[in-house]
Symmetry: C2
Subunit: 408 residues, 2 copies
């Protein structure tokens, strides 16, 4: 039984993701599509619009066979560490290939670029540092450094290319026997702001949902199953999630910490603790705070991740302990269909890390960070809604049957 | 110029407090009434109904001459430490007497009781421990112990008697040259629930205010000046303060901490950290949480103080550092009238601790705890209201002129 892995966030699951699953199935010739998905908080340092359980159900209903959760400790990290956690998880579960979307749609440039980077890493780092010191922003500095070391094939200003490259690089570094595959993305920009067609960016869909709700405009880019899960979640939670809802907690948290305590938090580096205390006195909203914190050196994404770690109280020690391990600490199973179940059954005997299916069983210590992140994720809801949603952590994986799934 | 000190919370200032000020002036023959008042959070582990600045103004308008803030580190503590901070502050500013309200209205029983306690402290402690181990509640155990060592004159189940005794005890222990005075209280019970006459308990007034607003029923127990300050504060803050408004922050805070971190907080003793984590999963409101935490050993007041320290992130180290000092770290001046100003001017040269008048000047390091408490106190408001109210910390003391005060 062959399996192909996808690294996803499904925030929310849209038509582009169906294209991804279907194309991956085709190019990989796999029987089982395994998605490794971020949980409550995402790589760009944002809360997911709805919880991981409803996003899992949407993914299964639209074609994924098995959904695993990428541990928090890897999910809210820069692309290198994020990719490291994702490819290692996919290796542990036993996929033969990994397929990602890219603008180019050809894998060779990625493999060549990784080779160039490997031999020029020191030069690359020196150039980035020099440009940063000259006052360029991090994205500007790294773009110039890529060109300087001879990387021209891939547009390294595209987040999807950076992520794709990180997967290939992480697999090569760990010498994992996974084939890298890529398919061409069928819309233009990751951050495109508006919904134009049935294929729209997740960013534009979230914007529409958070501003105007589940409008026809939003629906045109979403499978019916996602629309239903979004409604179901809104019914349970009475809202979808976005940063501003967490601002009072974040602000309260920083207000009760001194610079010393702030400096223990992962991502609060190079004196950012002082800037945090200063700006906290004037910030009137989350994005106002981001704007007050932003400098050329610190991108919005970098700062957002730092804010997630402050919110979840994730310390440098927490991260150091977790990532110093040779492999991922566990595989958290969020859901599966009949195919996924069959695949899992076949793999079970040869797994080297525990499968966590239900919060009550086989819980490695490091799982506490995920539980904390999920608790924080739900804190913006009323106490009774928090409690009923938290129970999902204890009820085991979501299991759906392919043939009846759309009738759910 | 003679001064008499009062230890107060003014939560809110009512007719009983006018009686206190006027009687104290009479029995002490003092020219200046100095009130040492708790700031944002109070001795029983509760947020003040309105902020310290509006409570100061109400006190000055109704007859107090000088209002100082009792530092947070003493304000939210059991009676012994609370009294220690209060009498030391009053000694530093230079009062000749201290006057408190009591049911008995005679000072001799208090002085005799302190003498008995001094010679029987070990016996008293042993008896309390024995009764606690038998399963009695702390108040029950201490009441029996008082009787056992021969203390019968004072009803030690009355919080005001306990506090009065603590002042006398603290003054004696530190050998302060302050005369203890007491006046008879003119209403029955500290915790009386309903407003019956023009003299009502602060508890009953708060209950009426928080449930029904500034009704005629509430107004009958309040000077016009307090009613005006309450309205003015509600206008600025859009609410009055009570524990339930802080519940989401408190709950979020505990959810992000592990037992080890919780155990560093002042008041989280004897394994309460485990109980906190357990009960946090089920608590749906602040008072629901208190009920889940309560045992015979831990009174509600004790737990409420612990919750205040969790909310403000006050560690055992913070408290230990502050109270190990021989004297109070500073005197925070909140407000004064012409008489208070004249008194302060006369005393200034002989003060041994700094006077903090304005957050920008003369700030001792330990003042950070008060600033943090005030920041937390305002966190339940919208960001713009928080900011404008926080500015009061920087604008120096409130100064009113006796003759024009009621025209404010």
């Amino acid at each position: 039984m062959k399996a192909c892995g996808l690294v996803v966030e499904y925030n929310p699951f849209h038509h582009g993701h169906i294209h991804h699953i279907q194309s991956a199935r085709k190019v990989s010739d796999a029987d089982c599509i395994v998605a490794i998905m971020s949980g409550s908080f995402l790589q760009r340092g944002e809360p997911a619009i709805m919880d991981k359980f409803h996003r899992t159900r949407a993914a299964l209903r639209a074609g994924a066979d098995l959904v695993l959760e990428l541990p928090y400790i890897y999910a809210v990290q820069s692309s290198a560490l994020f990719a490291k956690g994702a490819v290692r998880s996919l290796h542990e579960i036993g996929v033969q290939s990994l397929c990602f979307g890219s603008e180019l749609g050809r894998i060779d440039p990625f493999i060549q670029t990784v080779e160039i980077l490997q031999s020029t890493q020191t030069t690359y780092d020196t150039i980035v540092k020099a440009y940063l010191d000259k006052g360029l922003s991090y994205p500007q500095a790294s773009e110039r450094a890529y060109h300087a070391v001879g990387i021209d094939d891939i547009d390294m200003t595209q987040p999807n290319n950076i992520l794709g490259l990180s997967y290939v690089q992480a697999m090569k570094q760990a010498q994992l026997p996974i084939e890298a595959l890529t398919i061409k993305r069928i819309h233009n920009h990751y951050h495109d702001d508006a919904i134009h067609t049935a294929i729209a960016s997740a960013t534009s869909i979230r914007k529409e949902l958070l501003l105007n709700g589940l409008t026809n405009r939003a629906k045109q880019s979403l499978p019916k199953s996602t629309a239903e899960e979004l409604l179901q979640y809104a019914h349970l939670a009475n809202q979808w999630h976005h940063w501003e809802a967490y601002f009072p907690f974040l602000h309260y948290k920083v207000m009760t910490m001194d610079t010393q305590q702030l400096a223990t938090i992962h991502g609060v580096d190079e004196g950012l603790e002082h800037r945090l205390i200063q700006t906290s006195k004037k910030a009137t909203s989350f994005y106002d705070w981001i704007n007050r914190m932003k400098t050329k050196r610190y991108t919005q994404t970098r700062l957002q991740r730092m804010f997630v770690h402050i919110l979840t109280n994730t310390t440098k020690t927490d991260v150091h302990q977790a990532i110093s391990q040779a492999t991922v600490p566990y595989l958290r199973l969020l859901g599966m269909n009949t195919t996924g179940r069959e695949f899992l059954h076949k793999q079970k005997k040869q797994l080297n890390v525990p499968i966590v299916t239900n919060r009550k069983k086989n819980i490695p210590a490091s799982f506490e960070l995920d539980e904390r992140a999920t608790n924080v994720y739900y804190s913006i809801l009323t106490p009774d809604r928090q409690q009923s949603l938290r129970k999902q952590e204890f009820t085991g994986p979501i299991i759906i049957n392919d043939s009846t799934s759309e009738a759910w």
